[in-house]
Amino acid sequence: MSAQTLLLDWLKSRMAPQGVAWLEEKAALLATGAQEKTVSLSFSSCLRYSGKSPLALAHADLQAARAAVPGWNPGDWTCDQAARIFLLVSLPPGSDSAKMMDRLYQTADVAEAVALQKAAAVLAFPEGHLARAREAIRSNIKEVFEAITLRNPYPADQFDVIGWNQMVVKTFFVESPTQEIEGLDRRANPPLSRMLTDLAQERWAAGRTFSPQLWRCLGPCADDRGLDGLQKALAGSPVEKRAAVLALASCPLPRAATLLQAEPALAAAARAGSLTWENL
């Protein structure tokens, strides 16, 4: 089933019939190349028909979402987001629609901007949404930043290494939950490891704390300075210690194995899979 069909199905059981009728009528208009004013007004007024309740999808719905679009995770979507994104996926795919979405984004209120960013997960013509998605990484509005960064497969699939690394480092910087980034382990890379090593050193120098999940993104590509950081974390609080062990276990360098000898029990737990980033 397509994302469009799934969204409509979910909305049908959550919106009043008149609201669904309105939405279907607008979607049909949009599909045939409606005027920009129609797109903009229906995108804005969606909320009046949809309300803002969480979609609260069942497990089977989330599985259907993953089957329709790899990595799609609408678990935290609300009805207004689903309705707005249903309208966006109804537009004819291509650069004209993508540019129209850029203009919608320029004048978007906060909720609209969030919907536009979450939509990237399911929109066709992914290259058309790249600049807009990258713009959200520069946003100071945390909801907008998180809409593209967390539980959204688009960045891992589309961002180049510069965009990806900026996103991951900023997620740590603004203290959003990095474990909710899709494709985090898959996109580990040496420059990111170096940036995160610097961030850890900077935080330590300032006497500030940071999420121990930082070591997760650093471990696989750690260089000698990264291992210095991990060595220090190994001597830190219990949670830092566990994170350092997991990161060292993911690092192919011989020095990592040597460092791990200091924590044989935790190292064994990491190897056995009983210590993970999820149960850190």
Partner: protein
């Protein structure tokens, strides 16, 4: 601290229904939240420096529904706005035409509670034209109207604003006439409009005068605001006026009406502003999640133990 004398346990909920937060600092947001302000309305107005390009209007309106809304939320304050072309800049006719074209794109958005602030500055022909065009837009969108009354020739300008609203068939109950004074308020109230008073040092209303007005005219359809902006103004004008009203013997109910309920009733007619919007907010605590998001690092209310220390 400005509000040390306010009893914390009995903190009154307040709305400032006219304040230009884009010009204010986070210190103001913090002080307003501490003083009991739960919601603000930010009318679109001029920004001191006349704009010369349509793009600056577009970005200004976007800021009102975007970044400013977010800034306020960090302090647990609900931010609403009004959208409109102000009377001063209506005099740049070519640009004004473009702004009018842009308005429908914003007027239907979430949290837009009125068309405003519109009306007269010098009462020129251009001002008249764009005032009327926007009254028609308010009718079409079924939104309340916020009227800015002029500094010069105020009494005539105020009467004329109401005449024009009536001519366009807009119910007085959907129109807030703002920046009233002792000379204008009787007519405004007699004709059934909402009468807002701006507590703004030197140029508009003082809070002692406001107390006298409230004693004389009552609290029905009377609204207190600050219009604090980039000028010498006071973001705590509403809490300070509420305090002075209580200290001067006005009833709790009257103060609540003028500093909270009347604004909610007037702008709530938009369908975009409900008391539950802020009553349902979780208590602001920068250590906790807020509306599903933890606050930005460094943002949010967090009183340092020693104000000389910056962490």
């Amino acid at each position: 601290m400005a509000n040390e004398s306010r009893p914390v346990a009995k903190k009154r909920k307040l709305i400032d229904p006219h304040i230009h937060m884009v010009s204010r600092t986070t210190d103001d947001y913090q002080a307003m939240a501490d003083a009991g302000v739960v919601a603000v309305i930010e009318p679109a107005f001029w920004t001191g420096q006349p704009r010369t390009e349509i793009g600056t209007f577009k970005d200004y309106f976007s800021c009102l529904v975007g970044f400013e809304r977010f800034r306020a939320s960090q302090f647990g304050i609900k931010h609403y706005c009004t959208i409109g072309l102000n009377s001063k800049e209506a005099n740049n006719e070519a640009l004004a035409e473009e702004v009018i074209e842009l308005l429908p794109r914003f007027a239907g958005k979430e949290g837009v509670v009125a068309i405003g602030e519109i009306g007269y500055d010098e009462m020129t022909k251009a001002e008249e034209k764009f005032f009327r065009v926007q009254l028609e837009l308010a009718k079409e969108m079924d939104l309340p109207v916020m009227i800015h009354t002029p500094h010069r020739n105020k009494k005539v300008g105020t009467s004329r604003s109401m005449d024009v609203c009536m001519e366009h068939g807009i119910a007085p109950s959907k129109v807030v006439i703002d920046h009233n004074n002792e000379e204008t308020c009787k007519e405004v109230l007699d004709r059934g409009f909402w009468a807002a008073f701006t507590i703004y040092p030197k140029t508009k209303m003082g809070n002692k005068r406001m107390v006298e007005i409230a004693k004389r005219y009552g609290s029905d359809r009377v609204i207190v605001d600050s219009s604090a902006d980039w000028g010498i103004s006071d973001a705590l004008a509403v809490p300070k006026t509420a305090d002075l009203m209580i200290a001067s013997g006005l009833s709790e109910a009257a103060v609540d009406a003028m500093c909270y309920y009347n604004a909610l009733a007037a702008y709530g007619q938009s369908g975009q502003m409900k008391e539950s919007d802020w009553l349902d907010l979780k208590t602001v605590d920068s250590k906790k999640e807020f509306e599903g998001n933890s606050l930005l690092r460094g943002g949010g209310p967090e009183a340092p133990e020693d104000s000389r220390i910056i962490t």
